[in-house]
């Protein structure tokens, strides 16, 4: 086993229960200290077969199933195919941006700039698409938007690594710059996209499933694989677990950090393009709360705010829970003020269940040691 891999596997909680075939389970010291240790005793026997990550996933699935069961009983149309597709379309934008946020948080950082990149690239996509014509114009607009997203991510990475400025402050700054630039582009006015072909991402792709949903699901799968089975994934978790240990293990932590923010920027830009395609317009004031929504989704998915731990499927479930709640409250025609309260309470309960799960696992572990 290489030194790098050893450090990566000992300094952080590996993703997805860390069942990497290349790393012996007994060599790991997990942050939550439970997942792969032998468990005995009543609690231990109860939870021994289930690792920490699986339990986190089950908790979220349980929460979604609970909310879904209630909504199925309360709203006739909740389980209809068209409503399920509506939910998936609604979460696609936040979901894609949350993938980038996951990379940033797993690596021990934050990316608030998604709240600026998303509207900026949405407006940019709309303006450039209006200037060109046909698929060529849309492709140019897409490439330009992704390049801007990647460029902002690169700037974030460089400022964080070379300027030694905290990610929170750095991305707060670029959030403001990008948000202002989005307003500058067309004097703060929403730009409708003239070419109806621009809404292609909201058009059906497979049966009734639309392209935006298909793209989102593909990204979830690819990002899960990247983080779960590749060296890059392990390095990102190692970076989040301990930057210094990762550096000593031979990882070029600056380069890796820059890569993570470039990825996050590109995902935010793609989310901006998907949003513009869905709305057939680019609005500089759109999705202003997306930094909070994406961070909430990632944390809800079981990630640690301190980095080194989390999983893409957890983020997906977190986004799905938020989307199901929002959809259900609209279907039930709940007063908008109560909607905010209910959303907050459900999220608190979900996070509470996640914490209870961690406590249960610790108890099982102690039980096992006695």
């Amino acid at each position: 086993m290489s030194t790098e891999r050893q450090v990566a596997s000992t300094m952080h909680t590996p993703p997805h229960g860390a069942e990497s075939p290349r790393v012996p389970a007994e060599s790991r010291t997990l942050r939550t200290g439970t997942a792969s240790r032998p468990a005995t005793g009543p609690f231990g026997r109860l939870t021994g077969a289930i690792n920490d990550d699986t339990l986190a996933t089950l908790t979220l699935l349980l929460a979604i199933a609970g909310v879904g069961a209630y909504l199925t009983a309360a709203a006739d149309d909740f389980l209809s195919m068209s409503n399920i597709i509506t939910i998936l379309q609604t979460i696609a934008v936040i979901g894609i941006a949350s993938i980038g946020q996951s990379f940033a948080i797993f690596s021990g950082g934050f990316d608030l700039s998604v709240g600026g990149i998303l509207p900026l690239t949405g407006v940019l996509f709309a303006v450039i698409a209006n200037q060109g014509s046909g698929p060529g114009g849309l492709l140019t607009a897409l490439i330009a938007a992704l390049a801007v997203g990647g460029g902002v991510g690169l700037a974030n990475g460089l400022i964080i690594t070379k300027g030694r400025i905290n990610p929170l402050i750095t991305t707060l700054g670029t959030l403001s710059v990008c948000g202002g630039a989005a307003f500058l582009f067309n004097n703060g006015i929403t730009t409708p996209i003239e070419d109806v072909a621009a809404s292609v991402l909201a058009a059906p792709a497979l049966g009734r499933l639309t392209w935006d949903v298909v793209i989102y699901l593909m990204i979830v799968v690819i990002a899960s694989l990247v983080l779960g089975v590749t060296v890059l994934g392990r390095r990102i978790y190692a970076l989040g677990g301990s930057r210094e240990a990762a550096r000593r293990a031979g990882i070029d932590v600056d380069r890796l950090t820059i890569s993570v923010y470039v990825l996050s920027g590109v995902f935010a830009a793609l989310a901006g393009v998907v949003a513009a395609s869905q709305l057939q317009a680019g609005s500089p004031s759109s999705y202003s709360t997306i930094p909070l929504q994406t961070i909430t989704a990632v944390i809800l998915g079981g990630a640690s705010l301190y980095g080194g731990y989390g999983a893409i499927h957890g983020t997906f479930l977190g986004v799905l829970l938020i989307g199901v709640i929002a959809n259900g409250l609209n279907l039930l025609q709940i007063n908008t003020f109560y909607q905010q309260i209910i959303t907050g309470l459900v999220l608190l309960i979900a996070v509470g269940l996640t914490r209870a799960r961690a406590t249960l696992m610790r108890a099982a572990h102690s039980d096992g040691k006695e």
Binding site: T90, I189, A202, A275, Q278, A281, T336
Partner: protein
């Protein structure tokens, strides 16, 4: 432990900070005034000159900078002395400007603050100094208020929706009115959509007439014909909320949607299109932006558009200033120039997205005609 020399550096730092603070205070006291007297002051006949201070909302924004430009142009035409102070979109700057204006004691101050929270302080500053004041768009206690009438937009928009619905043979048995609110923005958007439904329910065959006062921010459903959703003021918020709500409405039901701004109107339109509901839907909105006017001209769904003539606001408030200076008691609210456009009259008032003709002076603002200012500026309409 403090490093040698650190104390002196800290002292220097404190001195620098103090100087910087002092500089900021001086800048704040100056109120970012451009300090230039009004253009063309010398041309005013005796007894008609007026010394006006204008606290603009935020000259960094293209939309608001346009108001400031109009104010300069109209003041120049009238031969009024004008000093402009930029409130910079913040309450603190608005307050700093108010103090400067109160000390200067102009004949009238016209103030537009984007921070309603400082309204009381602004009003107190002007009233203490005995400077008559006009509040634009955001209320300032103690000042005459100038604003659009959301209830008028609502009534006209609802009437247009009902007329279009009737022409398609819709009635209360097969039609739902959806008011898309923006609750966080306070009572104004609700005023429009609620008055819209009042007018709609009075005109739609078979509908039970409803009063706007029966609808509150917390209303989600009223009778068989009214649904209310919250679009959060944004295109994507309206798109997502309406798209989810449409899942619960039978697909053969006709829809009349009212949105309080054009971004929300576009979000609603996208949701209707995306759900395949546009063919049996109608939409009314407010804003008269380029996108809204284009939809009104070209899209059969978009049947009504409340027009806001922001460029003319400067002329109206200068007429108010004249009336105040002449000792006239102003009404509680002076209504801004506005009307509601349909496919038939949109080209009468707008060329592209630029106003080409002033609308008739609203009923509540008829006293402005007596000042002669609107006629001088070509804003009297017909």
């Amino acid at each position: 432990m403090r490093a040698p020399g650190k104390r002196s550096r800290n002292s220097l730092g404190r001195l620098t900070a103090a100087l910087a603070s002092l500089s900021l205070c001086v800048i704040a006291a100056a109120g970012c005034s451009d300090g230039t007297p009004a253009a063309g002051n010398g041309g005013a006949p005796a007894g008609e000159s007026l010394d006006v201070a204008f606290a603009s909302p935020n000259d960094q924004s293209a939309q608001f900078a346009g108001i400031t430009q109009s104010m300069r142009t109209y003041a120049g035409k009238l031969g009024y002395a004008l000093k402009v102070h930029d409130n910079q979109g913040t309450g603190t700057q608005a307050l700093a400007n108010a103090r400067v204006i109160a000390n200067a004691k102009p004949d009238v101050v016209i103030d537009w603050t984007l921070d309603a929270g400082v309204g009381k302080s602004l009003g107190a500053a002007f009233n203490r100094a005995g400077v008559p004041c006009i509040a634009m768009n955001t209320e300032i206690p103690g000042c005459s208020f100038f604003n659009i009438s959301n209830s008028q937009y609502g009534t006209e928009g609802g009437t247009n929706l009902a007329a279009a619905a009737k022409s398609r043979g819709w009635d209360a048995t097969n039609t739902t009115y959806i008011g898309v609110n923006f609750a966080a923005s306070g009572p104004n958007p609700l005023g429009a959509i609620a008055h819209g439904f009042e007018a709609f329910s009075k005109s739609l065959p078979g509908a039970k007439p409803v009063q706007a006062s029966e609808i509150t921010a917390g209303t989600t459903r009223l009778g068989d014909n009214y649904l209310q959703v919250d679009g959060g003021g944004t295109i994507e918020g309206t798109f997502n909320a309406l798209k989810a709500t449409l899942q619960g409405i039978p697909s053969d039901r006709n829809l009349a949607v009212f949105t309080p701004n054009d971004d929300m109107g576009q979000g609603a339109l996208r949701a209707l299109n995306s759900a395949g509901r546009a063919k049996n839907s109608l939409l009314a909105s407010i804003g008269s932006g380029a996108a809204g006017l284009k939809e009104l001209r070209t899209n059969p769904v978009w049947v009504s558009e409340g027009a806001v003539y922001l460029d003319y606001w400067a002329g109206y408030t200068l007429a108010m200033a004249r009336a105040l200076k002449d000792g006239k008691k102003l009404p509680e609210i002076t209504v801004a120039p506005q009307n509601t456009l349909t496919k038939e009259n949109v080209d009468t008032y707008f060329s592209g997205s630029t106003p080409k003709k002033a609308p008739p002076v609203p009923e509540g603002s008829a006293y402005l005609i007596e000042t002669g200012i609107l006629a001088k500026l070509g804003l009297q309409g017909v």
